[in-house]
């Protein structure tokens, strides 16, 4: 909300001469942080952030009232000439009960005159803009200065008396903004004999609006229920200054006062002649008193607060305070509909004392801390390990496009059940059933921007909608593509999309405790449309639920595994094998032949394929490592073991490479 500092000072003379920065700090301390200061209009205009519970502060006088309570200063007296109630020149019927309990009105004949320049400047500074019609400008000025919405009808366009009632099915109203609105029975309205003429507390009607030709005005200064006004404003998407004030709880006692102020302005500005002022209904009863135990103030404040001080602060806010044995009985003022609980009052005491006075303490630890949940730890450790292995964690939004969601989701999943009713757009309309699509897009963008290698992973929930409802499954997805080593020319340039890249990735995953069988969606990833031109733009991707990964407990107690203190013996065997030889079978056969020996490791350490080798053959360099727990091995026994493993290999068609 915009607050013009000159008008604020007029309501609270104690602010005279206070630097703007100091005023801003003061307001922030009261819970009204200032988001901006505009100095283009002479007196600085503050953009003040007002929380939804403080309808009473949405005016210059309301804000001044809070500042006055803080400073212990007095408000300027209200320049008011109270009117005597006169004859009801047209009937006003209230049919909506407690939602519209009171309606004050007046009928005036307008004379010549214009909105004063100072008021026009005031409205201009607030961005409201004077309309040049005194009845409209005065209503606006009152709203910003005192916070109570009022309305002026062109009295000559009203047929018969006024009724405040609920709309009937099928009724329509063209509001001041020129929009024809279909009303519902939950809309509160003002009607004349011809039908609706205003949406109560929200906006007037076009048919009865005041124009330059208007000669007589009928004023409205009423009280409407906050919830009803909010609902109507929301239903019609019509958020006005008036609906904001009524919607956050207006001060019922201001209704009569605002009418008198409005009449007074029209008399002063436009030589208006009051024909009569009258009202219907009665002001709602004041809110119930609240019992505030002083012990609660002490608990909330974190220190003993002198009840005298607390009572005085509440009184400054306009509360009536009577001290009793259990605490104070507090009757909040008519403008503070938000004060209904003792906690609300405790907050007020703290707020006026200043939050900076609250002491600082750490709460004592009364119960044992709970361990971190295994699922949380697993995710966190997995992310950390993948990052340490050279992969970048991504975060993508999580919405999917049904057109791209045709494949890849789980069995029995119904994408419609993952669909949002009110998405941002068609391509954001369902919750994703896979992470790979988003990850693939990220990979493509990176490659298109010149990255030579993309190493990406994401850990996030994916959605499946089965017969038992919507399920969120924490999932890991990974994409690795491009050229190994990326921009680093010293790492060599091998293409990740080759089978070699796959085995590297599988090796890495085995170190995380996942075998290929457990990898849900493991397949080659290629940048669509790029592969022809740049062969390196391919790689591997997979996705798997985190439940497929082993747990990563918080506390791991390793079990001691004895190791040998005797030397190890290594032997190399260069084998010629067929190009179609399955590695696993060969290694398995060789290891089986060495059962009972102190074999520590046996693996292929080099693959050699060259035209100098016999046709259809390749060379595998097998490295065997023996080590006994209890003695140094002799050359003869190792030779014998190597020979037996060679013979096993020969049974599969391998030869010793000469």
């Amino acid at each position: 909300m915009l607050i013009e500092t000159k008008a604020l000072t007029a309501e609270l003379p104690a602010l005279e001469g206070m630097p703007t920065a100091e005023l801003c700090e003061l307001l922030a301390g009261l819970g009204f942080p200032v988001d901006g200061v505009d100095t283009a209009h002479g007196a600085p205009v503050l953009e003040v952030d007002i929380t939804a519970n403080r309808g009473d502060a949405q005016s210059h006088r309301g804000m001044a009232r809070d500042l006055a309570a803080k400073l212990g200063a007095g408000l300027a007296p209200l320049a008011l000439r109270p009117l005597a109630e006169g004859e009801a020149l047209l009937p006003v019927r209230l049919e909506a009960g407690a939602e519209a309990p009171y309606y004050a009105t007046a009928l005036l004949e307008l004379g010549a005159g214009a909105t004063p320049g100072a008021v026009q400047a005031f409205l201009g500074a607030l961005g409201a803009g004077a309309k040049g019609l005194p009845a409209v400008d005065a209503s606006n000025e009152l709203l910003h200065r005192y916070g109570h919405p009022t309305h002026a009808f062109d009295a000559d366009r009203i047929r018969g008396g006024l009724t405040v009632r609920w709309a009937r099915e099928g009724e329509t109203l063209v509001t001041l903004d020129g929009v024809a609105r279909k009303l519902t029975p939950r809309d509160l309205l003002i009607a004349d004999e011809g039908g609706p003429i205003a949406l109560a507390g929200v906006m007037g009607g076009d048919g009865t609006k005041v124009s330059a030709a208007t000669r007589r005005v009928l004023l409205e200064s009423a009280f409407f229920d906050a919830r009803t006004v909010r609902a109507t404003a929301h239903r019609h998407g019509l958020h006005t200054d008036a609906s904001h004030r009524f919607g956050r709880g207006a001060d019922p006692r201001m209704a009569a006062v605002a009418r008198d102020l409005l009449v007074q302005r029209l008399e002063d500005w436009a030589q208006a002649r009051l024909l009569s002022a009258w009202s219907a209904g009665a002001l709602p009863r004041a809110a119930a008193a609240v019992v505030l135990p002083w012990a609660m103030v002490d608990r909330v404040a974190g220190e003993a607060v002198d009840p005298m001080e607390a009572a005085a602060l509440l009184q400054r806010l306009g509360c009536e305070v009577t001290d009793g044995p259990l605490g104070a009985t507090v009757l909040p003022p008519s403008w503070r509909s938000d004060l209904g609980l003792p906690e609300d009052l405790a907050e007020e005491v703290l707020r006026l004392r200043g939050y900076e006075r609250i002491p600082s303490a750490l709460p004592p630890l009364e119960s044992s801390p709970q361990p971190l949940a295994p699922e949380y730890l697993k995710r966190r450790k997995l992310a950390s390990r993948l990052a340490n292995l050279g992969f970048f964690q991504t975060v993508t939004l999580g919405f999917g496009d049904p057109l791209e969601d045709q494949e890849g989701h789980a069995m029995g999943d119904r994408p419609e059940a993952r669909t949002l009713r009110n998405p941002l757009g068609e391509d954001y309309s369902l919750m994703r059933g896979t992470l790979l699509r988003d990850l693939g897009k990220v990979a493509r963008v990176n490659l298109e921007r010149g990255a030579k290698e993309v190493r990406l992973f994401e850990i996030a929930p994916v959605y499946t909608a089965g017969p038992e409802g919507l399920r969120e499954t924490w999932t890991l997805a990974l994409v690795w593509a491009g050229t190994l080593g990326g921009d680093d020319p010293l790492t060599g340039s091998r293409r990740i999309g080759d089978p070699e890249g796959k085995s590297y990735l599988l090796g890495m995953l085995r170190s995380l405790g996942v075998g290929e069988a457990e990898l849900g969606a493991f397949r080659r990833w290629a940048l669509a449309g790029w592969e022809g031109g740049t062969k390196g733009q391919a790689g591997w991707q997979f996705e798997l639920p985190l439940s497929a990964l082993p747990d990563a407990p918080d506390r791991v107690i390793p079990k001691f595994v004895p190791f040998s203190r005797f030397p190890a013996v290594e032997r190399d065997l260069s084998l010629l094998v067929g190009l179609d030889q399955a590695y696993g079978a060969l290694e398995g056969a060789m290891v089986a032949a060495l059962a009972g020996t102190p074999l520590q490791d046996l693996r292929c350490v080099d693959v050699f394929r060259h035209k100098s080798l016999p046709q259809g053959r390749q060379a595998w360099l097998m490295r065997l490592r023996f080590q006994a727990m209890d003695r140094t091995l002799t050359g003869e026994e190792v030779d014998a073991w190597v020979l037996s493993s060679l013979n096993a290999a020969k049974c599969l068609g391998a030869d010793l490479r000469g």
Binding site: A301, Y355, S360, P363, N388, V442, R455
Partner: protein
């Protein structure tokens, strides 16, 4: 020795010996020079020895001594030069073997955690020593958990389909904050067990963080995203007041932003707390003098907090006359942007590896 006694070519060679020695650039050249002067055959020295053999007996002694002197001069000269050349060769060899450690070397690949993950992990680490654990809840939530249980009025605008995503078929929404985790945990710890006690009564309190993804119906722009992250914190105990909230947050903010961080605690309003508060931090960009980031105020809003509203406790089945507590919630993107001065929220979701490399990290 009288050079005149020598054969003229030997005398001439002797005269040019120092220059020839200096002209030898390597050991091979030196060996050739050595052969020419003191070699076994055909050298100047051999020539002189023949001369000595042929000399009359009475001259032999003097001539011999003279020849020896001459040979010594040559040999000393050659030896000295050889040492010089060998030293030079060693030095050259050493240079050849040396490696400049500043030459670029192959580097193991380095990845990174996402900056948002890092900040959330950091917050968990900051609160862990205070006894907080992590609680989580689903993203697809019920209205009861996301709104009702948090004392959010039935007609609150946030419930509207302009602000909150709803599912088409189920009566579910995408949670708009991490606060429904509060409701879930409060309901869980309020449930009375077979021993007649609730988990809350048995434990004497609870404190936890709830980090996670949340959704609001905002178009993507430099400061908004339909999905973002929050970290929620909650503590329930006995006799909990605003001083506990202030002390806890002051500790956490100093742990997060450094001991010099200046924070401000001021009143605010959220339906699920009473009293309500917000914590601001001194603008990291301008240090308080006022700039675009802090909109001239010198402060940047960091988190919302307050004492748990008695209605929230009551709705979960916890007696607010006995139990009290506080809650706070922080926007992760907002904080990450502010701390790192990242100009555009969308960078976090674009996942350019260059961004991730500089903004992320391994811990």
């Amino acid at each position: 020795m009288d050079l005149a006694l020598l054969p003229p070519e030997v005398a001439q060679a002797h005269g040019s010996f120092p220059a020839a020695l200096a002209a030898c650039a390597d050991l091979d050249g030196l060996m050739r020079l050595k052969g020419a002067f003191v070699g076994r055959e055909g050298s100047h020295a051999a020539r002189l020895m023949e001369l000595l053999k042929a000399a009359p007996k009475e001259e032999k002694r003097d001539l011999g001594a003279a020849i020896n002197t001459l040979k010594n001069v040559w040999e000393e000269g050659l030896k000295g030069r050889q040492a010089e050349l060998e030293a030079a060769r060693k030095q050259a060899a050493a240079l050849g073997n040396a490696w400049d450690p500043d030459l670029p070397a192959p580097c193991p690949p380095t990845g990174a955690l996402h900056p948002l993950t890092r900040l959330m992990d950091r917050l968990v680490d900051v609160f862990r020593p205070l006894g907080y654990h992590v609680e989580e809840g689903p993203e697809a939530e019920t209205e009861a958990h996301n709104f009702d249980g948090l004392n959010i009025p039935e007609d609150h605008p946030a419930r509207g389909s302009a602000d909150t995503f709803y599912f088409k078929e189920q009566a579910l929404l995408l949670r708009t904050h991490t606060s429904p985790v509060q409701v879930r945990v409060l309901q869980r710890i309020a449930a009375v067990g077979p021993d007649g006690l609730s988990e809350l009564e048995r434990a004497g309190g609870i404190r936890f963080l709830a980090p996670g993804r949340v959704y609001r119906k905002d178009e993507i722009d430099p400061t908004h995203s339909p999905m973002f992250h929050q970290v929620e914190g909650m503590l329930v105990g006995k006799g909990i007041g605003m001083h506990h909230l202030k002390g806890t947050l002051a500790y956490a903010m100093k742990a997060l932003f450094g001991p010099g961080a200046e924070v401000r605690f001021r009143p605010s309003y959220f339906p699920f707390v009473e009293p309500g508060a917000e914590m601001d931090v001194r603008c990291p960009l301008c240090g308080g003098s006022g700039c675009r980031v802090c909109k001239g105020s010198g402060w940047v809003e960091l988190l919302g907090a307050g004492l748990i509203h008695p209605n929230v406790l009551r709705l979960a089945g916890i007696d607010p006359e006995v139990w009290s507590g506080f809650a706070f919630g922080m926007g992760v993107e907002r904080t990450a942007m502010m701390v790192s001065q990242t100009p555009d929220l969308r960078l976090f979701f674009e996942n350019d590896q260059r961004f991730l490399k500089t903004m992320g990290g391994l811990d």
